[in-house]
Every structure is written in structure tokens, then in C-alpha cells.
């Protein structure tokens, strides 16, 4: 299973404007994040057992995401450790009004990963590596749920225009800033901004449920 990843296999930049996005998958059950929010509330009070349970639920997605951005397993492990410790440290600052517990934790993970990749040394190192961006997909945890998640995201990404998909995957999985994305795709800055925004909106509609 592979997720489309940016411009490497690009053959044409013609956007498929006429292609309708796949219909939202309403058959998928709504994800219940309240369990995680309950755990996070306990973690905020210093409950180490709750933190262990939270680690079991979040470390796989956090590590997979960090490794997708950084590619280097050793650095990814280090950053994942920082991320999980930040979840422990800042649990009391989680605000459910701004998103789910999963989103909060994975936002921390992504931010840490891009901070690392944008530091000069790491960036230079990364340019040496030619591994395809989401190499992590190959060993996605073999749970039915994870596989369904990946399959649905892949299908919905395919429903985007090529430019939307490339801009979004380069920015999110590649950790590039939007001006870097513009340079890589040789398109105007304003175009990147709107392609990312429109593409994300469309991707959200296609996924049809919230995390």
C-alpha cells in the first residue's frame, strides 16, 4: 500500500478539474476519542498508569508520522520520545474546544518533526536521502483499523487534483514550507496556498468523519 507522494512520478501538471471527489464514506463508524480525552485528563494529574495507556494508543501514529517526515529512524525515535514527553508535560494545557486529544498530540508530533527537519544540519542530511516520503507505510501496524485509515486516506488523496495532492503531501509528509513547495512544483506562491487549502477541504469532505 502506498500513498501518493508528491512530484516524483508526475507526468503532467494538468489538473483534473472535472473529476468529482469520491463520495464521503458514511459507512465508517465515528471515531470515539473520549477515551483518550479521559486518559489525558488523568495524565494531567500525574497519573503514570494513564500515561502508559495513552502511550500505547498514540506512540504508533506519532512515530509513524515523525518518521515519514524525518526518514531517519534514529532521529525519529529521539523526536518521538520528545513528543511523548511533551504530551506528559503539557497534558494540563490540552483544550478540547480546539480539537480532539489525538489531533492535539499529533499536532505536537508534526510540529516537532518539522522543527527538526528545518534545522540546517538535518535538512542537509535529508537531501542525501532519496527514500520515498512515506516509507513508513510499508509497515503500518497491521491492525484492521490502521489499514482502513490508510486505505481511506489513499483513496481520498487520489480524488484530489494532482497539484492539490502534491502540495499537500509535500507540505505534510515532507515537512516543506509552502514557499519550498512552490519552488519544488514550480508554481506561484498564491497558487500553492489555495491548492493546499482547497485540497484539504476536499480531503476532509471525502473522509467524512472527524478525528
Amino acid at each position: 500500500m502506498t500513498i501518493p507522494t508528491g512530484p516524483r512520478h508526475r507526468t503532467s501538471r494538468v489538473e483534473a478539474r472535472g473529476v468529482p471527489a469520491p463520495r464521503p464514506d458514511r459507512s465508517a463508524p465515528p471515531r470515539d476519542d473520549t477515551d483518550l480525552e479521559r486518559l489525558l485528563a488523568l495524565v494531567a494529574r500525574g497519573d503514570q498508569d494513564a500515561f502508559e495507556a495513552l502511550y500505547d494508543k498514540l506512540s504508533g501514529p506519532a512515530y509513524g508520522l515523525v518518521r515519514t517526515v524525518l526518514r531517519d529512524p534514529a532521529q525519529s525515535e529521539e523526536v518521538t520520545q520528545e513528543v511523548m514527553l511533551e504530551v506528559w508535560r503539557a497534558a494540563s494545557r490540552f483544550d478540547p474546544a480546539r480539537g480532539s486529544a489525538t489531533t492535539w498530540a499529533l499536532t505536537i508530533a508534526h510540529r516537532r518533526a518539522v522543527d527538526r527537519v528545518r534545522s540546517e544540519a538535518a535538512a542537509a542530511d535529508r537531501e542525501q536521502r532519496s527514500a520515498p516520503v512515506p516509507a513508513a507505510v510499508d509497515d503500518v501496524a497491521e491492525t484492521v483499523e490502521a489499514t482502513m485509515d490508510a486505505e481511506q486516506v489513499r483513496r481520498c488523496l487520489e480524488g484530489l487534483t494532482e497539484l492539490q495532492r502534491e502540495a499537500i503531501t509535500l507540505a505534510y509528509y515532507g515537512g516543506y514550507t509552502y514557499p519550498q513547495v512552490a519552488t519544488k512544483l514550480e508554481i506561484a506562491l498564491g497558487t500553492v496556498k489555495t491548492r493546499i487549502r482547497d485540497g484539504l477541504m476536499r480531503l476532509g469532505n471525502c473522509l467524512g468523519r472527524s478525528w
Binding site: 518521538t80 480539537g99 489531533t103 503500518v140 501496524a141 490508510a150 487549502r197
Partner: protein, 252 residues
């Protein structure tokens, strides 16, 4: 102004994917505070990004869990942002403190250990570490009251001193320090049990209060061990990556 707002608004997607540089991110966050429509968009798009993250989940490396849990046990937590709930929680913590303090003191009194060390161990405990200390205080008292409890002190090459109370019978030691230089946020002091050819991670030193670090309890002590301290990236590592700033030979 209107044009400016609309342009900023277009950044919501790039913001949700962390594709802004620091300066633009700050500018957009200022804008977010007064633009409910943007906040709704960002919330929705960040949730979509989460779906993309879930799709690349991978098995974390073995051993990471143990390191994270051990590091968390030694890492103080941020207090909640000021609110009514926060005030209640702080009150609750005060009660908890009065609960554990006499029990710890009792254990300490039973020990034939110098009163000065006892006081240092107790008073450097910080409010944030109370829950950890609570869980550890029985074990700390057990070390301090062990018939074979001994004290060792050492000096760091970067300034500051360390005091260790150890018991080979309990196979544990309690480590405190005073006057170690402050570290940047991305770094931490990590404690090691050193034996011939091997370094066992023994915990991270918490942030100091008044220059002193709260006691760290390390298990698995054997009579051949020395104690070392290195400076490591936040969260610690599984083996030392820098030259120790302190190595202490322990009494037999």
C-alpha cells in the same frame, strides 16, 4: 485591510499543515484570535491532517516505551493555565503534601543518616514533583533507613556538587545535586550507573529549584557501580552521548 485579511485567511491550509515559517505562523496566530471563521477552518483542516497522520502509523521501536515512561516519571508537569479548576487542584496538592511529609520524615528519622542530608532530600522536593515523590517516598525512606545506608559526595567538572545516599542491601541510591549549571530546554542531565564497559540509564535530573535538584531514586545498584552524570538531549538517551561531567566512586 480587507484584502490583507483575505490573504492571511488563505494561509489557513498551510498553517494546518505546519507549512508556514515561524514569522508567518505567528502572524497567522494573531489573526486567528480575532477570526472565528479561520479558527473553524483550521480546526477542520487540522483534523484532516490527523487522518493523514493515522494513515502512516508505524510500530515504534522496542525499548522506546520504557524510556519514555521512565523519563516521564522524572519530568515535572506544567501546571494548568490559571482558572478555577487550577486553584482547586493546587489546594488538593497542599493537602497531599501534608499527608506524605510526616511519613517521609519518620522514615528518615529512623535512618542513621546525617540530618543535613535528610533535610536536603526533603526540602528540594518541588510542588510539581509531588505525585512522583509520593510514589517514591516509601522507597526513598527504605534506602535512608537501611542498616547499610551510606553517603557519598562528588564534584562536577562544570561546577556544583552531588550527594548520593545508597544502600547495597536495597540495591538503590538516592541522588541529589546542588549548583549544577542550568541547561537550555533541549538538554537534560542524565544519571548513569557505570560498571565495567556498561552504562545503565538511572533517570533524568529534574529541573532544579534554587539550584538544587529533587531526589532521583535509582534501582539496580551493585557494589561494582560508579555514578555518572552526562548532558543529553531532552528526554534522555539509552546510552551516554557526551563525556560525563561527574563520575563518583561509591563507598564499598
Amino acid at each position: 485591510m480587507r484584502l490583507f485579511s483575505r490573504r492571511v485567511h488563505e494561509l489557513s491550509g498551510a498553517y494546518a499543515l505546519d507549512a508556514l515559517d515561524d514569522a508567518e505562523r505567528e502572524r497567522f496566530e494573531r489573526h486567528l484570535q480575532r477570526c472565528q471563521a479561520c479558527a473553524d477552518d483550521v480546526r477542520r483542516m487540522t483534523s484532516t491532517a490527523t487522518a493523514m497522520a493515522m494513515a502512516v502509523a508505524a510500530e515504534p521501536p522496542p525499548g522506546l516505551k520504557e524510556r519514555v515512561l521512565a523519563a516521564a516519571a522524572a519530568t515535572p508537569q506544567l501546571p494548568p493555565l490559571p482558572s478555577a479548576t487550577a486553584a482547586r487542584r493546587r489546594h488538593g496538592r497542599r493537602l497531599t503534601r501534608s499527608d506524605w511529609f510526616p511519613r517521609l520524615a519518620l522514615g528518615l528519622a529512623a535512618a542513621g543518616v546525617a540530618a543535613a542530608v535528610v533535610l536536603a532530600v526533603v526540602t528540594v522536593s518541588t510542588q510539581n514533583r509531588l505525585s512522583t515523590v509520593q510514589a517514591q517516598n516509601q522507597q526513598i525512606a527504605a534506602v535512608l533507613s537501611a542498616p547499610d545506608a551510606q553517603i557519598a559526595t562528588g564534584t562536577s567538572s562544570t561546577g556544583g556538587t552531588a550527594t548520593v545516599v545508597l544502600s547495597y542491601a536495597e540495591q538503590k541510591m538516592i541522588f541529589t545535586s546542588s549548583g549544577l549549571p542550568a541547561l537550555p530546554n533541549a538538554k537534560v542531565y542524565e544519571l548513569w550507573l557505570l560498571s565495567t564497559g556498561a552504562a545503565k540509564p538511572a533517570g533524568l535530573l529534574p529541573q532544579p529549584t534554587d539550584g538544587k535538584t529533587a531526589p532521583v531514586l535509582a534501582a539496580g545498584l551493585t557494589s561494582a557501580d560508579k555514578v555518572g552524570v552526562t548532558v543529553e538531549p531532552a528526554g534522555g538517551t539509552s546510552s551516554p552521548t557526551t563525556t560525563p561531567i561527574l563520575v563518583m566512586t561509591l563507598p564499598d
